[in-house]
Subunit: 457 residues, 2 copies
């Protein structure tokens, strides 16, 4: 018997892609206050579509920040309930001048769709929506499982709203398994489940010296320079090999099991190819004695994202700025906690502060590291579904990034979380020219259709 849902999805592919483009045209940049209206517009766009395809109880759930979008269909008696999660907010598009086409005008090139949010995460969220639509259409308005779908607009800024909602209303999201589509495949054509994510703390480090900006000729040699102070603090936080120097920072770290490390070694990974095609730097960096995959999946890291303040225009201004800022984040791995990591960091920064300046740290957002258990039947259903579409065995990997909600689902809803994603390593998440490989958008939709059918079988 032909699969009617897959047939519907195949017939409506181009339409689904055009809809996704319309979704991508809404610049829902959650971190920029000027875009708050766009974020809400994207939520409304999504909610309208959920109603149209047949979900019930569709509504925006207000938070202190951007709204959640909820919908459900709970008429598959005796069948499990699947909680679908994605996010409709996107990263800022800067630096704008490095985009080959405008970030919010989606363009197809070489079988890829280019736009901010194409893969992270509007495209992957749209696969979920289109999979549900195909299932409704293929079976006379019914789904093979019960479904709750929740999407957030704050994933790129820490996900506080959904975190609070999950903790306060766990019953409203009661389910048997969560399907999160916000990760990537380890390599093209290689179906992948992500079973671990790093946590993070994102901070601001502010250094103040003189009471106001001063002339560097008149005061250079007497007034403290906040940027030099920041440079001293930053080099005190991490050594040249990437080892973090904050006392106690590694104390709770749990090394991956020997068999997981062994599995990583058998993954198709060519360090030189990775350096050339993905990173593009003269050398790779990081802690000695660890492979690249260990360093990005199972070791904490510390990065500086930008250093606002002072003179950043063209040309010259001979100023000793009164203050300088560094945006500093740390990635955390099991079993570190964001609370302890921030506490150790904030205390050590004060110790590192050179004379003449005052230093203040602020926690912007945080998320806990996660390891997903693989010994549950839903992992098997996902593997089976992906094998049918991709004709290959699934590999189990971790992700270096953070999806804070995954830890919350585990902690507060007691759910196994399936991290099934269809991005590719060169998709340029958070970077200029972000893309989604169009065949992956189609086959990802098909994989979700089969996964939900497997769950209901």
């Amino acid at each position: 018997m032909p699969n009617t849902a897959l047939a519907f999805a195949e017939k409506n592919r181009e339409k689904a892609l055009e809809e996704l483009k319309a979704f991508l045209r809404i610049p829902s940049v959650s971190t920029l206050p000027d875009h708050a209206g766009d974020v809400r517009a994207a939520a409304g766009f999504l909610a309208d579509e959920l109603k149209r395809i047949g979900l019930e109880n569709v509504r925006l759930i207000e938070t202190a920040g951007h709204p959640l979008v909820y919908g459900d269909w709970l008429h598959a008696e005796g069948k499990p309930t699947v909680l679908l999660y994605g996010h409709y907010d996107v990263q800022p598009p800067d630096p704008l001048d490095e985009w080959l086409s405008p970030p919010f005008e989606p363009v197809e090139r070489n079988n890829n769709l280019y736009a901010r949010g194409a893969v992270d995460d509007k495209g992957q969220l749209w696969m979920q929506v289109k999979a549900l639509e195909a299932l409704f259409q293929g079976s006379g308005g019914r789904l093979p499982v019960n479904v709750r779908m929740i999407s957030e607009g704050e994933e790129e800024v820490g996900g506080e709203g959904i975190s609070e909602y999950v903790q306060k209303h766990p019953e409203a999201l009661k389910a048997d398994v969560a399907l999160v589509c916000d990760t990537e495949m380890f390599a093209p054509e290689l179906p992948t489940l992500c079973v671990g994510l790093r946590g993070m703390i994102y901070t601001e480090l502010e250094v103040r010296g003189a009471k106001s900006d001063l002339h560097s000729g008149m005061y250079g040699g007497a007034a403290p320079n906040p940027f030099m102070a920041l440079a001293e603090i930053l080099t005190g936080l991490k050594d040249a090999d990437g080892h973090i120097l904050i006392p106690g920072f590694y104390d709770d770290l749990q090394t991956p099991a020997a068999e997981e490390l062994a599995a990583w070694k058998s993954l198709p990974f060519d360090e030189e190819h990775y350096r050339l095609t993905e990173v593009g730097s003269p050398e790779l960096v990081g802690e000695k004695g660890y492979s690249v995959l260990e360093r990005i999946w199972a070791r904490p890291t510390l990065e500086v994202h930008g250093m606002p303040g002072g003179f950043i225009g063209a040309g010259a201004k001979t100023v000793i700025p009164a203050k300088a800022l560094a945006k500093v984040s740390m990635r955390l791995v099991p079993n570190m906690t964001s609370a302890k990591a921030y506490e150790l960091y904030a205390a050590y920064v004060q110790k590192l502060a050179p004379k003449g300046v005052t230093v203040e740290t602020r926690l912007i957002h945080s998320g806990e590291p996660v390891v997903v258990s693989t010994d549950n039947p839903f992992i098997h259903k996902a593997v089976t579904a992906m094998h049918e579409i991709w004709k290959k065995d699934t590999v189990f990997v971790r992700g270096g990034g953070s999806i804070p909600i995954v830890g919350e689902f585990e902690r507060y809803l007691k759910l196994p979380v399936i991290l099934m994603g269809f991005g590719l390593p060169d998709d340029g998440l958070h970077a200029p020219n972000e893309k989604f490989h169009i065949p992956n958008f189609y086959r990802g939709t098909d994989s979700i259709i089969l996964f939900l059918e497997n769950c209901g079988a």
Copy 2:
């Protein structure tokens, strides 16, 4: 016999102040390309006034950048020729939100005139113009000396145009002495001549890591971070005590003579008052074993002015930037040269570069350090003029800043340079809320009138 020039100046004080306000309303920020038209407008404003008061041969002299403004009056036969210098360009006004009144809307408060350029240098340039006007008006259209007046619009960006002009056309600026009004008094009511200035090199230090911006979760632990690399380089350039670590940097440095150092010790300088009222930081910083005045006048320094690149918006962006920049300048003292200092710096930066990144240095502009000889008669004429107005003996100081043209006047025109300035230590040069103490504007004008009369006596 009453001094008719001084009388004219006194009678026309308020008018002179209102004219200065109009001059200050033109936002002639030389470093910002968007303001090129304003810089030219300020040049035109100045030229019109020079013609009006009676200077001859008034014209704009084109350069590769902003124009010079020239005018002369050469009919005082047998009298010396005085070359008057000032600049009509100003520093950028940022950070704008720290100004109590808009930077280009001059406002009087507490007997001060607040505006960008009030004291540096439009106000001091306008004193020269008003002194010449008073001398013309007080003596039937004649001056007591021959005068050439040249003003530039690139002092805040290195003064390349005037430097080239001085080297190519020394005969066009032939004179016996130069009067530069672009410095400050050591303390209120204390007439001051500046007899030394630091030179400088202003550079950009660019670090490139990955080929494009990367997601800090996915690549943190493998990709180089250009801001961390910059932090390492910067801390390698200068130690925590402000000692510059570039090999050979101090080799040519000439320590001030013992009597000059002794004179500085007798200046009315209270380090704690200076820290509280001028700098406003928890402590002063700088090289051990040197007084504050030695550190800012007679020791080289290295400062960071800003670090463009990366994410500097509100909130969070988890990016490892592909590149980062630092604006780094060094002040130089006799007998260092800008060429050698830059060469040593650029070479050492390459040595400090950590693995995984490439580093490029660029020289934005430079100026040579200067010591002005005090054994010439014009210094005495300046001291006498100021004594008559201020009723106090002049103190001799150095300046920590750089006025590149002073070195060029000495080198190419073989002129003694009188640095007679009327700013105050708390005037906020290059900072928000720059001001000029209005009585100093008036008494400065009077001092210049008497100096020129003394030169012609």
